[in-house]
Assembly symmetry: C2
Homo-oligomer: 195 residues x 2
């Protein structure tokens, strides 16, 4: 479905498009996608197929090949996503977009630097909660449809390890797992997590 849009802050949006779960957003030279609703991830991959996540992006964020130096590079919807295609011609890449990308990847490299995988996972959940969480009665809800496999990929660990640690965190009352991969964080408790 494509709809002609009125002019945006960044030139004029060519059209708006809907993407279902786990669809690639087409890469077009000199265009950026502006996420209107939902969440996408950007990633590259290694020769052996290992996926390397470089960011998760939500409403208002701009993503596109011009905002990364990586090749291969892909954008994929994690949830249902509505995005506008914006032309870059006659437009300079703005510093604030790059700073936004720098912030994401700096956060990810810091998270991945914890020596213990449980600490990595706790830091990742807290970061996801801060960026994408929604306050609910029982805590902070992350509703991104991220599978254990996805979380493992973001940390360079195995699905089995993520499953084991999430189980432990739930036992300790630090998180609550709901259907459809949703996770509720008990943020105060997680903040003090150390063992």
């Amino acid at each position: 479905m494509s709809t002609v849009l009125p002019s945006q802050t960044l030139g004029t949006a060519l059209y708006q498009e809907n993407f279902s779960l786990r669809s690639p957003l087409p890469l077009k030279n000199n265009y950026l996608w502006k996420i209107e609703t939902g969440v996408v991830r950007t990633f590259t991959w290694l020769e052996d197929g290992t996926l390397v996540t470089t960011g998760l992006w939500g409403p208002g964020d701009l993503v596109g090949k011009a905002l990364s130096t990586l090749d291969p590079y892909q954008i994929e919807s994690l949830t249902h996503v509505q995005a506008s295609l914006l032309p870059l011609e006659n437009e300079q890449i703005r510093s604030e977009w790059l700073l936004n990308h720098l912030q994401q990847i700096e956060a990810l490299i810091v998270i991945r630097s914890y020596r213990r995988v449980d600490m990595m996972l706790v830091k990742l959940l807290v970061w996801l909660g801060k960026r994408f969480g929604r306050a609910v009665e029982t805590g902070n809800l992350i509703d991104l449809r991220l599978t254990h496999h996805d979380l493992a990929e973001m940390l360079g660990t195995t699905r089995v390890t993520v499953t084991r640690i999430l189980g432990k965190l739930e036992e300790q009352g630090l998180i609550q797992r709901l259907q459809l991969q949703r996770i509720v964080l008990k943020e105060d408790e997680l903040w003090h997590y150390e063992i």
Copy 2:
């Protein structure tokens, strides 16, 4: 030692300063350091003191707090370094500086995503060689005074592991180790490294 400099591409350099090995470059708000000679690294650290390298920078590169979103943040000379202090006032952060920073950290997160530490280390050496290497008769010389501990920190592994793998790479004729932590890469062979 400080010397008044004529105007630079980025406003006017306030002064030039020399730093000996392993000295911190002072962080000043609204100023960037332009590296004239030598190599510095930028890093942050975790609560437990783990150091997280976010880039290595050589002649022509600009570094400063304004080009990172991390706090804490530090710049440290790896070699003898000469750098100019450049004011940022009335200057916008330019996209190309941020893209340069993005490129470094994207490269580092990709290198750290290899599942095997030997692959990480080979990729790191090849990357260092490409950025800072100098062609010598026997190969590509990396002369950065990076200790095994430094390399381990960049990969989130242990010094012992780095020492063991470097020994193995040398036995296989893929690198040659010289005094003062210098390494000569046999790049053609390393390019095909897989085991």
